[in-house]
Symmetry: C2
Subunit: 417 residues, 2 copies
């Protein structure tokens, strides 16, 4: 087949079974967000390119699908959804009562080298909590992300909590300047600890302090943190954790190496992993951030998270989760053309009663129709024959057992239900 | 605000209320397709540009968002979904049991002059029926499109049926050559009947025949059609209409001027209008077509339809349809910080029982919290005060009537449900 009529590289088609799974998980996620008082929003698939460079720097152009429209505007397929949703908030929702709880489920695009679990078009689920910065608010946000992953059926997930304000306070105590934070955070993010130490030495931080900072990054409890730093940020971190326990989460790790790789994060940050996925284990990342003033809005506390939908599905599959399957309640088979109209009336009546039903549309024989009925996973077949019709009867066949019984037409509905 | 951080021209953001409506209609449509045995598929947002020019001609580039990827491939945001789904079928589904019933709900893109009800990003709903061409199959397809529009709540819709095979047979009888059909059909599609007559004269068709053809185009019944032409195509048209009546549709118009504007249609064609929308009234169009061989697949009968989702929503609004609203079952308000943890435990318990519940996350006073509760349309508020807590009670307030009662904590759940 010619290249031009094939699917573009790095993208996917979803077959019916896969799609049914995905819609099932999507619906579950939507219901959880709604049960927490979150409301869904949607933004366009493309935005002005500058929206993303403003947020993430010019580097991002490298991995973005950018194009010009016929008005010579620079547009980009969205690589993520926080910038569009915050842009939307600034344009149209600043006057809404706070807190504003917004969620979204949408496709994003990244010009990446295709590899397992990484696609050029992928689905992102996420939310933004706007207008409150109480510890209980952030605890609820973290609890929500955890609840979503648990309630879609994942058995083994690990929540890790970090805090950027604490790291920044400590770096300041060490004499590091604010404009030097970025390159250091980048090295922590990439787990390049040797380069981190080298860079700190270059910044003339004393050897003992560098050693201390390395130890600090390995802290795994609030008590340990207090050995390195006493700051309001530590108290605040503790408060969030206390509320997290009230919400019912007491299994989590403290991980001061969480950076989130983006300049606009601050305060609490968190990630959730599915260890079963190995190197590509991160399913969710989020935290407190500041983006609204950058887009021209009035400053207000914001936090949010994003879940990689595709990776969550892979994790469910790897854990052996049994997804529901699309089934057909009934397949109606007219024995011959004379009973076709009766068969149609039966399938019509069933569909009106919300029974998932289909009817032979190919005028095939009984054997072929039964074969088709099992290929589309019909639970029952209704066989409409002229002899039975005379008695106002039809035959109902259980597709699993193969058992057939003759049923009065007027009793059909109660029998099928 | 700067242009670059505004929404791109011709696209839309959807606020929570609008989004809730859209998801509601989307879910209803999905359930109807599934009740007819259709299965959902999804294809990428962009395809190779050639896929669309191959199907619709080079003209389409004018109204497409086309761009090059970093591998210098010509890509395009999909302007419609039939070409991608048929491409998908040819690549991966040719061996599936027939008939194959596929549906999709997805966004499409057109570089159009923005105007009312026409956006650069819009949602298309549609389906393809592959592998059968019996009259009952096409009747079911038409009935399905009609059922979708009726069951989402539209009261006044008009179904029109046409048939391209009949027009082509008549044109052949008139001595028009096959390679001349296209420009004639184009004029019919645009209702340019004066130009049509002129063109027929140019093609040396006799004046009486041209007059006859104009009359033929105004036929409104099978019986009238038979006065102009006797052809197998007319019998076939009649058979489809007979089955349509068996499915329960007896209100429709015969409209021989339906062309569908696309070269690959043949046989039965149909459109459904919402007259309330005036000039932009068409909600649905479909018919029998031939596209699989063009994409390199083995020839097999195909038919399908597409519904303009955005326009269907506008029609519902114009008809005054009352959409369900997203509501909050319960808003939990701690009177002060001391009852906050109890409030969280209550909201947690309610959410676990699938009650849509939220809790004050801003430590506001009672009055402000009640105001917020009504702004988010909470049905009930649960007020958690220290005095009541001592008696293991809380106060439940009906947000509509303002009536409050004190309730035992252990009876709360049954009271809320």
């Amino acid at each position: 087949m010619e290249e031009k009529i094939k699917i573009p590289r790095g993208t996917r088609d979803f077959l019916p079974d896969e799609m049914f799974k995905r819609r099932y998980v999507e619906r579950t996620i939507r219901e959880i967000f709604q049960s927490f008082g979150y409301k869904e929003v949607q933004t366009p698939t493309f935005e002005h390119l500058e929206l993303f460079t403003l947020k993430s720097g010019e580097e991002i152009i490298e991995e973005i699908y950018a194009f010009k429209d016929k008005g010579n505007r620079d547009l980009a397929l969205r690589p993520e959804l926080t910038a569009p949703v915050i842009r939307f908030y600034v344009e149209k929702m600043q006057m809404e009562p706070k807190p504003l709880k917004l969620f979204y489920i949408g496709n994003c695009y990244r010009y990446d080298r295709p590899q397992r679990g990484r696609y050029r078009e992928f689905t992102q689920v996420g939310c933004e909590l706007i207008g409150t910065d109480t510890p209980e608010a952030y605890a609820e946000l973290i609890y929500l992300s955890y609840t979503i992953l648990r309630n879609i059926g994942l058995k083994n997930i690990v929540l890790r909590l970090g805090n950027l304000d604490i790291i920044y306070s400590l770096l300041e105590n060490m004499g590091v300047k604010k404009n030097q934070f970025r390159e250091l955070m980048h090295l922590i993010d990439k787990s390049k600890f040797y380069e981190l130490e080298k860079k700190l030495f270059e910044m003339r931080v004393a050897k003992s302090k560098v050693k201390m900072f390395r130890e600090f990054l390995n802290c795994n409890s609030i008590e340990k943190l207090r050995e390195f730093i006493e700051a309001p940020a530590v108290d605040r971190f503790r408060e969030i954790i206390d509320f997290l326990k009230v919400f019912g989460i007491d299994k989590f790790e403290i991980d001061m190496k969480i950076v989130r790789g983006l300049d606009y994060y601050k305060g609490i940050v968190f990630e959730i992993d599915a260890p079963i996925l190995g190197a590509e284990k991160q399913l969710c990342g989020g935290g407190e951030y500041e983006l609204i003033p950058l887009f021209g809005g009035k400053e207000v506390p914001t936090a949010g998270f994003a879940i990689g939908f595709d990776r969550a599905i892979i994790a469910l599959e790897e854990e052996g989760y049994v997804f529901p399957e699309q089934k057909l309640d009934v397949y109606v088979i007219p024995i011959n053309e004379k009973t076709l109209k009766n068969a149609i009336k039966i399938v019509n009546m069933l569909r009106e009663k919300n029974i998932i039903a289909d009817v032979d549309l190919m005028r095939r024989g009984l054997a072929k129709s039964l074969k088709y009925a099992s290929s589309v996973k019909a639970k029952k077949a209704i066989i409409v024959g002229p002899k039975e019709l005379e008695k106002e009867n039809v035959i109902v066949r259980d597709m699993d057992s193969g058992k057939q019984i003759e049923v009065k037409m007027k009793n059909l509905l109660s029998m099928i239900k």
